[in-house]
């Protein structure tokens, strides 16, 4: 498909001498939600890191908005609108909630619309508004996850990638969040999720990829994947 906003081709990546990702390709079309599933250790997190540049890819290409950004550093990709909400939150724990959000809109592009972005985040997570002057390290686990997602949204991304979206979130918050992602998607945001809550993610996905042992195992519409017996057994627990 040529209308992909983000196109990842034959990506290879790893740590030290250990290769983890072996030629993974996927794409995210504008204003769609794409989900990547796979067992833990399959290489999903490493793939995302290599795409946003917190890990330098060993091979392959990352094309964003028609531009080859494979070798660009992470901050340059973020400034172009490619954002990652990392696994494990990675907050500035000694900074307040609001300061963390400010760090999210560090780029020139995002800082222009800081106030609007901040209001949107507080509307999405009222708990963060209540705790805006509290140090991030003193938040509960789920509140920290909310803050990590909000910080990602503060960069006003064109593509928002989230590693383990649902981690630690109460059902009521998770459902609101998915409902909001749907609204953001309708507004033009492109979303890539690594998500273990496969049922919820598949329900809202336009396209899904299954990664196994660092390679692409299958891809297709959520319905098509759900109908494949080996995927149901191995990844969906059905």
């Amino acid at each position: 498909m040529s209308d992909a906003l983000l196109s990842v081709e034959a990506l290879e990546a790893g740590y030290g001498e250990v290769q983890v990702v072996w030629g993974v390709s996927f794409e995210a079309r504008r204003s769609t939600l794409t989900t990547i599933v796979g067992a833990n250790g399959a290489g999903k997190t490493t793939t995302l890191k290599a795409v946003v540049g917190t890990l330098v890819p060993w091979g392959g290409r990352v094309v964003f908005n028609g531009e080859d950004v494979t070798r660009l550093p992470a901050h340059a990709k973020a400034a172009r609108g490619l954002a990652l909400v990392p696994e494990g939150r990675q907050l500035f724990t000694d900074m307040t909630v609001e300061e963390n959000l400010e760090m999210g809109s560090y780029s020139k592009r995002a800082s222009r619309s800081f106030t609007v972005l901040l209001e949107r985040c507080f509307a999405l997570f009222p708990r963060l508004a209540e705790r805006r002057r509290q140090r991030a390290g003193t938040l509960s686990g789920g509140e920290q996850q909310m803050l990590a997602i909000a910080r990602g949204l503060m960069s006003d991304p064109e593509v928002l990638m989230v590693d383990e979206l649902s981690l630690g979130l109460a059902p009521v918050v998770l459902h609101q969040l998915f409902a909001t992602l749907r609204v953001l998607k309708d507004d033009g945001l492109t979303i890539v999720l690594v998500e273990q809550n496969v049922h919820l993610a598949f329900a809202l996905s336009d396209h899904a990829y299954v990664i196994a042992d660092g390679k692409l195992f299958a891809d297709g519409s959520p319905d098509a994947l759900t109908d494949m017996p080996e995927i149901r057994r191995a990844y969906l627990g059905l």
């Binding site: 599933v37 796979g38 067992a39 833990n40 250790g41 997190t45 696994e87 494990g88 708990r127 003193t138 938040l139 509960s140 686990g141 789920g142 509140e143 996850q145 909310m146 383990e164 649902s166 981690l167 630690g168 979130l169 109460a170 059902p171 009521v172 918050v173 998770l174 459902h175 609101q176 998915f178 409902a179 273990q196 496969v198 049922h199 919820l200 598949f202 329900a203 809202l204 959520p222 319905d223 057994r233 191995a234 990844y235 969906l236 627990g237 059905l238």
Partner: protein, 252 residues
Amino acid sequence: MTTILEVRDLGKSFGGVRAVDRLSFAIEEHAILGLIGPNGAGKSTLFNLINGVFTPDSGRVTFRGMDITGATPDVVARHGLARTHQIVQPLEAMTVLDNCTVGACFGRQNLPRARALQAAREAAVFVGLGDRLDSPAAQLTIAGKKRLELARALAAQPLLLLLDEVLAGLNPTEVERMIGVIRRLRERGITILIIEHLMQAIMSLSDRIVVLNHGQKLAEGAPAEVANTPAVIEAYLGDPALAAELVGKRRA
């Protein structure tokens, strides 16, 4: 039935916030008690009060008839109460086996090193880390680290185990496997207090559920009973119509 843990009128404030507020509940021996509640409700703080990371401002914690209120974590562990952490806390530079050995050495029994190693190995194998014994903890994936949290707690040979979101970040197949592990723990006679947001999992595992909100008990009862309580739906489960719409769209 014998009560293994009783919490009475427990309270803890941070600054002006009442994280846990006059909370009382009890667990019967060999039971699985589920603890749910919105983010920031005080669930993890409650764990920290029970195992002595924090000292409560008020109230009592009684474990097997002994008052352990304010006892330090090492003493609480010696009494046979072990826990896992929501944000995993492995000793990164140490191997899987050594992490578990630490749990065994500072657990219920004062095991000599050889027996501690044996208990550690058994615990690691039990959770499915048998082929990673010599890997540094830092090299495990999140799911592996979650298992390690459980194995280290288990190596302490606890009578009561506090599990803080051990299923989070696991895919449905891995969740099934972990649920199997938790059920087998109960069959071994371990009592379990578990915090979890995965509704299907906690509803099927737990004998009873306690719901926290703003540090207070919002509801308590059998899983089905609690899930149909309007206050619980409002504070925690959310709008059922929205959930049905989100999840059920493709089935409709």
